[in-house]
Symmetry: C2
Subunit: 372 residues, 2 copies
């Protein structure tokens, strides 16, 4: 148990016991403690964790999935939870008696949400709560559990049989988002065409070129083209062919954008809503529902993982070789890296401020990388 005793002094976690919608950074504190270790404890060294919108919403108290607050972390009589749902860890100690295939040095991600990833170290007693992700780079490993799985499951969960012959289409809005870029890369590999809708912008051609050449999008249109009836009736068919077989629409915008991508679907098509960036509701003409039998469904990777944890394991298994073979790009360039140096140089106050900055900073997704 010497290794365990060694690391047990280094447990620091971002914890919270209350919530605040106004300023959720105020509910966070950086807490040092000695974890309760048992003979079955697996000890995990945190390598990196992203700050996802769902993490922030949990701190605000407005997210429908939340970790239980407990007294496990030596917080006296104040039940607390560790923040963070996603991240990558290295196994630094695993009982010799463990029957799992995991071993010291393996990189793992949590199977379930609410794991409490915003920590220097974590413990875990059930190896089945961990998914091995050896071979991935740090940036991919730290984000595959949410974005990667979301993209894979969006394509597969509701469409059972793709023809995989470049005859079928997916339309996605928010085409420059991480998930959309994963969708176009995976779809390209699976020989499914993608129409990416992106916001109107001055450098449209440049962004569209990157999406097509680097991320495998088949065609890219702007939101004004997406919503323009004449464009959709005349111009678009002249580019992508008449009656393209749009089976799936992926909506993370809402409002008129969702209406316009739903209109592109063929009979019996499915629109999955997994976000609502515009803050507008999904708007669906009645005729699409009745006469085209469009199914408008929601998608929440967290709930999928709860209902069917194996689905996450399966998705990771499918995704791993796509990353290691370079079919899907590392998300590194789409991340803002913040380094938490726990090797000695950084005070707790500075570390806490670093996380708070990650919460408030807009733009690229913030990834905390730990320097041990």
């Amino acid at each position: 148990m010497s290794a365990k005793k060694g690391v047990s002094k280094l447990f620091k976690s971002l914890i919270y016991s209350k919530h605040s919608v106004e300023d959720c950074t105020q509910v966070l504190s950086l807490h040092s403690y000695s974890p309760v270790l048992t003979p079955s404890s697996i000890i995990l060294k945190t390598l990196a964790f992203p700050i996802n919108p769902s993490d922030i919403n949990q701190l605000q108290g407005v997210y429908p999935s939340t970790p239980e607050k407990t007294l496990d972390y030596q917080t006296g009589d104040v039940p607390s939870a560790i923040a963070g749902n996603e991240g990558v860890f290295e196994i630094v100690d695993i009982p010799a008696s463990s029957t799992s295939k995991l071993k010291k040095g393996d990189w793992v991600i949590p199977l379930k949400a609410n794991f409490g990833t915003w920590s220097t170290y974590r413990t875990c007693t059930d190896p089945d709560d961990l998914i091995k992700v050896n071979g991935l780079d740090l940036y991919t490993a730290a984000t595959i559990g949410v974005n990667g799985c979301t993209a894979w499951q969006l394509i597969h969960n509701h469409i059972s049989k793709w023809k995989n012959d470049n005859s079928e289409w997916i339309v996605t809005n928010a085409g420059t988002s991480q998930v959309a870029k994963l969708v176009t890369q995976i779809a390209s590999f699976l020989k499914i065409n993608t129409l990416s809708v992106i916001r109107d912008r001055d450098n449209f051609d440049q962004v569209a070129d990157v999406l097509k050449k680097e991320y495998g999008a088949t065609h890219v249109i702007s939101e004004s083209q997406n919503m323009d009836k004449t464009y959709n009736k005349e111009t678009l068919p002249s580019i992508i062919g008449k009656n393209p077989d749009f089976r799936l629409a992926l909506n993370s915008v809402g409002g008129k954008s969702s209406t316009a991508i739903a209109r592109k679907l063929k009979k019996n098509g499915v629109m999955l809503t997994y976000g609502g960036m515009s803050k507008q509701p999904v708007i669906l003409p009645t005729s699409l529902l009745i006469f085209k039998n469009i199914q408008c469904l929601g998608f929440w990777v967290t709930e999928n993982g709860k209902q069917n944890p194996q689905s996450k394991v399966d998705a990771i298994e499918k995704l791993l070789p796509l990353y290691t073979e370079g079919i899907i790009k590392s998300p590194k360039n789409d991340l803002n890296i913040l380094e938490w140096d726990i090797s000695g140089g950084m005070t707790d106050g500075t570390a806490l401020q670093l996380i708070k900055d990650g919460i408030t900073k807009k733009g690229k997704k913030n990834l905390i990388v730990l320097k041990h």
Copy 2:
């Protein structure tokens, strides 16, 4: 074949070869002809047919399901179709060799849409294209194929297991519509609670009382109550209980009404849209889709019948005893009866005008009853 020769002179059908959105009554003509009879011909005497919105939309050329136009009706070289999708017939001649269980004198309705019911007589060669409805009154028999089947299938097609113990709920808007009143009656029989939403009106209490006492609605609210957050949070639970288990929302209105009934659904609930009276699209907050996994689907009884004709046979089989035992009321009082007297007194011009009046007259559903 003498019986056949006798009736073959009496074939008159409302036919059309063109469409008009502006005035669809102009495309209709009343056409007399001698049908092509074969040894397998079943001859059907029309007893009554309703004028449904879908019939009118077919004449306008704006309905996605249409009969083929043929030269079968002695219209020279002008391909024509007989109007009408629904109606009840009496079998006046059926080949003795037929292996079907149908016999002369049976009342039947068409299995499929586009049957061409606006006629004095019709022929049919396949007895499997007919569903026996003996025992129903004329008004029920003439309308069970659309409204009755719609109501039955709305309740059953997407919810596989109801508990049937008065613990679960259906919410429906357009509560005074024929389909909604069928839903409340069927649900009451099945021990499923119903919340009927009706338009605000001066005689709200009176209409609500009728829906509750005569049509089995569990509770009735107005559209303003439907959309009022405080009412839904405080008042409604005090009446129908906290956390009512709303599994199904039936929407034939759209707009904010659809949003408000969708909000009442519990996790994994289903909203079926089968109409859009308000001409507004269905509007769904993103959170309902993602976090409550509300499924927003369309419902079209015509398409269901095409995809699975047996589903219509099954629905009728279930509905028949409910009508004959008085569990579901005859729709007679909700129909405007127009009599087409073909026994001699009415000219073709008068008969045609009668149908045209039925098309243009608003209010109650118009039912043409034939006097032979």
